[in-house]
Symmetry: C2
Subunit: 597 residues, 2 copies
């Protein structure tokens, strides 16, 4: 067993930790948080000689996975992911977990162990490292992806490479990385033993007996670990609502082989850049069918370069061609692998569909394959790209038409298999919306697990585990969404979002006037300026009438001897609000600004 | 044959038509429109002795169906629907077709013929009637639904009831209404003969041999019409990408019967209020299983009341119970039919899920059935409601789990059947996004139709048809989206939408100052007011620095002798923009307002 502790102290001194200013930890709904545990006292939750499992993100959502394991004064983290904003999170770029508990306990954290390289498992690493300095442990591909991220953020960190089969120690945590299969290469499960309890975390997985890299999930090891004993299992619930089995990645290869065989012209194929196995298969098929391969889209270029460098992707000599050198290659000898399978507006495929791609002009007869399924919420952007491709008389093949994508997550029968092999004493479904977690617990029950041994937690809850007991505590740590907008982390909260929503719905009207407060004389204005409300030039009457209303309300207020700015503003706002609503049935934000001159 | 012409003149004199102010016809992308026909001259497009078919809405979209048929100086319209706004149409309530061509030709319009009562076929009728006075023709259910709408808008109109099997004349248009089956009762197809060409319009349809009301689609009549000869067919393309057949509504009844039989507690079932047949089936099943029925949600209450009144819905004596009288009914003797199957935030089901419903408190053991499929774009709102229902320990049954919904549109094999029966000379696929229209034309070709007889049009194009020829003309009439926001029809265009988008992303910053322009002296300010940008209270430094930047830029401008407001504003805006972007990587709208005092 490797012991990373013996090589260098993974525990940074608290003094070395860069404390963030308090405002950076502003969270979305802090006011709503009730910090009192429900089931037992806070004191009991803090009892030191148990293993505490605290999910900060990843429950009741598919995204921003981050779990804290705490034993005595030692902590390790599993994954550190981000998620994309909901529709109503106007202007937000990404959402990350609330790190306040980690910052407070930075001196206890021995490391972050990464299960695989998807954004919802690694995307928040740079944001964490900006606040605290902790070592990262993971297999080569996720670490390579993290390294690229750190470069973009101008950060450095100690990245410790592990590989499937490795055993290593972080303090009292004995960790074993086990090969699993998922829609990204180099994914692992974790078997973690502590003096008081052992834990098995599946990471994201499916059971693929025939993966592209020939390294199937290590079920024999699962069985062995089951024999050795697992107190708590945390397992992927994404597909808990789907009966049966998820098909092997091999199925996609077969479908694509048939499509490639029939294709007469250029083939463009869009998929997730992180799905290195699929990219490998596409390259193999291209070679088989006498085609060269080019790559388009920044993330595809980056991941392909990284995966080749790390040896996860093998491109036969002469098979690769630069995208800007593809013009002279006959159409029936070319495959272009591209980003944009989710219809992302700035992606390579969208730019091609909009005639905005520098190197690729789509033309009649081209075949475009979308090798993916729309992530919920992306259905309309995908349809929009597909329609534009049809307009170009391109042949479009997508999931509605053929089996060109498989999920990376285990369905119900696979989940039953894992439960049967691991035989955990206690079970916590993870990685899912609430309905997925519930359904996963129903599956566990259906194969004999006692209901009182299954724990559905929310982010911020805590499960305290030892060999005999597991107890759930509510709301032990802050775990709200932290919104990132540009450089701001957590500085956009409910009030700002509410204003953005109101502004987006009806725009705003500004009433501005200069007033001599002493005399109550209106020196200038009131003028009216609007944005996002109506075309001013075509609604001059409305705006002029509004100006009159505002003037009257202002004058009335001042003549009544009112010199209290906020009272005057309220009265002008209210008169204007009534007028505007009566005339337009709209409720723009009304902003009176009065200058005292 | 009934001749509505003989009873009263359907053609209102132009003088009687209320002309809308020009600004109300402002359309989204008017500037981009190129009004020159592509294939032939505008003069040829206007040739009088053809039948002209001009879709104003419903092509390259599923929504706001409206087609103009024009023969000599006579016009009839088929349907007049609305659609819901796209995500980027901030603040827009509904989208309606561009009526400008109709307003210009109001004196020629003999009537609007409605195929069925869905919103995308009747929703824009009130907006049309506000601009021109035309008679409406339709079966009883859609006319009843339209009448309710007109009441809400405070409008009156002459509604002319027809029934399936009726033949009637509007000017030179001989119209025959034929029974079809769809996901709303009382749907019809139209066979329309003119002296120069005949047309068959399927409306929205599926082929259901076993509909709930026992009135199957009139295939014998289709065959007869095929024998009589159809020059142009326009047919529903919604499901052209789906192979096979759409299942009969009866299938849903069977699934629900099984679910009702097993249910031990209260059943709540959400579905589209317009699906009167499904509501009928639910009522029958409730009675069969010894349950009473209550109804929740405004649109469900309205449609049920209307459908009962018109005889489309039969509720056995004693089966119905008022929602506020359900408290004393045992859980296993009650079914509540509700709106909200699409997760609409204000719907009855969402209010129940949020504990905000006055009469219905959900409780453990309740069964909630979502008898529908999420319309594309609604996936996330539906998931959100489902998760909330799971949190209430309610048993949730939805389309992911059981066959409790069927589509109302024909799949590929049904389309082939219709083509084979009608045997049209020319074909125009309608009611679909571009990919659906293309796929429908591929289907037509696959069963022997010549490609040069198939015409894919866009809204605003024209197909000129006679017995021998059909010719397509591009961009003959304006047919852009017209956006409705509150009382404003078409007064929100690209500029307003762009501002709303910018405001929603980063908010805005207002810089306000009072200046003596003559002397160049700053009398007051500059002050900074922001909305939707950052929490001001927690970012005082940033705002203060911004104020200094603005002050400096203003002073520099004034000291340089600049007295041109717009130049000064640009310089302040630019300095502030650079500063804010450097500090935050955000781009709020910056609005300098200077008062001359």
């Amino acid at each position: 067993m490797r012991d990373f502790n013996s090589k260098k102290p993974p525990v940074k001194k608290a003094a070395a930790v860069k404390k963030p200013p308090a405002k950076e930890l502003q969270t979305k709904q802090k006011a709503e948080r009730k910090p009192v545990p429900k089931k037992s006292s806070a004191r009991q939750a803090k009892k030191a000689d148990n293993l505490k499992v605290i999910p900060i993100g990843g429950l009741n959502e598919i995204g921003k996975n981050l779990t804290v394991l705490e034993y005595k004064d030692q902590m390790i983290l599993i994954d550190c992911g981000m998620t994309f904003p909901e529709d109503e999170m106007y202007g937000i770029d990404v959402v990350i977990p609330d790190f306040s508990y980690l910052v407070k306990n930075a001196h206890k954290i021995l490391g972050v162990v990464i299960t695989h390289g998807h954004e919802d498992h690694i995307g928040a690493v740079p944001y964490l490292l900006k606040q605290i300095n902790v070592p990262i442990y993971g297999t080569r591909l996720p670490l390579g992806l993290i390294e690229n991220k750190l470069k973009e953020h101008g950060l450095k960190a100690k990245l410790n490479t592990i590989k499937a089969g490795d055993k290593f120690k972080l303090g009292d945590f004995k960790i074993e990385a086990i090969r699993t299969t998922h829609s990204i290469a180099d994914a692992i499960c974790l078997y973690i033993q502590t003096p008081v309890a052992s834990l098995f975390h599946t990471g994201d997985f499916k059971i693929d007996y025939t993966p592209i890299d020939g390294e199937p999930i290590d079920l024999a090891k699962f069985a062995e670990i089951g024999r050795r004993g697992v107190d708590l299992m945390m397992a992927d619930s994404t597909n808990a609502l789907r009966p049966g089995y998820t098909a092997s990645e091999k199925v996609v290869g077969k479908t694509l082989d048939g499509i490639f065989r029939e294709a007469k012209n250029r083939i463009l194929i869009a998929t997730f850049s992180s799905n290195v196995h699929r990219v490998q298969k596409i390259i193999e098929l291209a070679v088989k069918h006498g085609r060269k391969v080019a790559v388009s889209g920044r993330s595809m270029e980056n991941v392909v370069a990284l995966a080749v460098e790390l040896g996860y992707l093998h491109i036969p000599a002469g098979a690769y061609v630069e995208l800007n050198k593809t013009r002279n290659i006959p159409d029936n000898e070319l495959v272009i692998i591209t980003t944009g399978s989710q219809g992302e507006p700035m992606s390579a495929l969208s730019r091609m569909a909009n005639n905005e791609h520098r190197n690729v002009k789509l033309k009649k007869g081209d075949m475009v394959i979308l090798s993916s399924t729309p992530v919920p919420g992306n259905e309309k952007t995908v349809s929009s790209v597909v329609n534009k491709l049809y307009e170009k008389e391109v042949e479009v093949i997508y999931n509605d038409i053929a089996d060109i994508h498989v999920s990376g997550h285990a369905c119900q029968e696979e989940l039953k298999l894992i439960h049967t092999l691991i035989k955990p004493k206690f079970f916590m479904p993870v990685h899912g919306e609430y309905r997925h977690l519930v359904q996963h617990s129903v599956i566990a029950e259906s194969i004999g697990m006692r209901k009182d041994r299954i724990f559905i937690l929310s982010n911020g809850d805590q499960l305290t585990v030892d060999k005999r007991n597991a107890v759930k505590f509510h709301n032990v740590v802050n775990a709200e969404d932290v919104l990132v907008d540009g450089l701001g982390v957590g500085d956009v909260g409910n009030i700002v979002l509410r204003d953005r929503k109101l502004l987006s719905e009806s725009g705003l009207i500004i009433v501005v006037s200069a007033i001599d407060r002493a005399s109550g004389e209106i020196i200038s204005g009131p003028d009216i300026v609007s944005r996002g409300f109506v075309y001013v030039r075509e609604n001059e009457d409305l705006i002029n009438d509004a100006k009159k209303i505002a003037h009257q309300a202002l004058e009335d207020s001042l003549e009544a001897g009112n010199r209290d700015w906020s009272g005057i503003k309220n009265s002008v706002r209210e008169e204007l609000r009534k007028f505007i609503f009566r005339k337009t049935k709209r409720s723009p934000i009304i902003l009176p600004i009065f200058l005292d001159v």
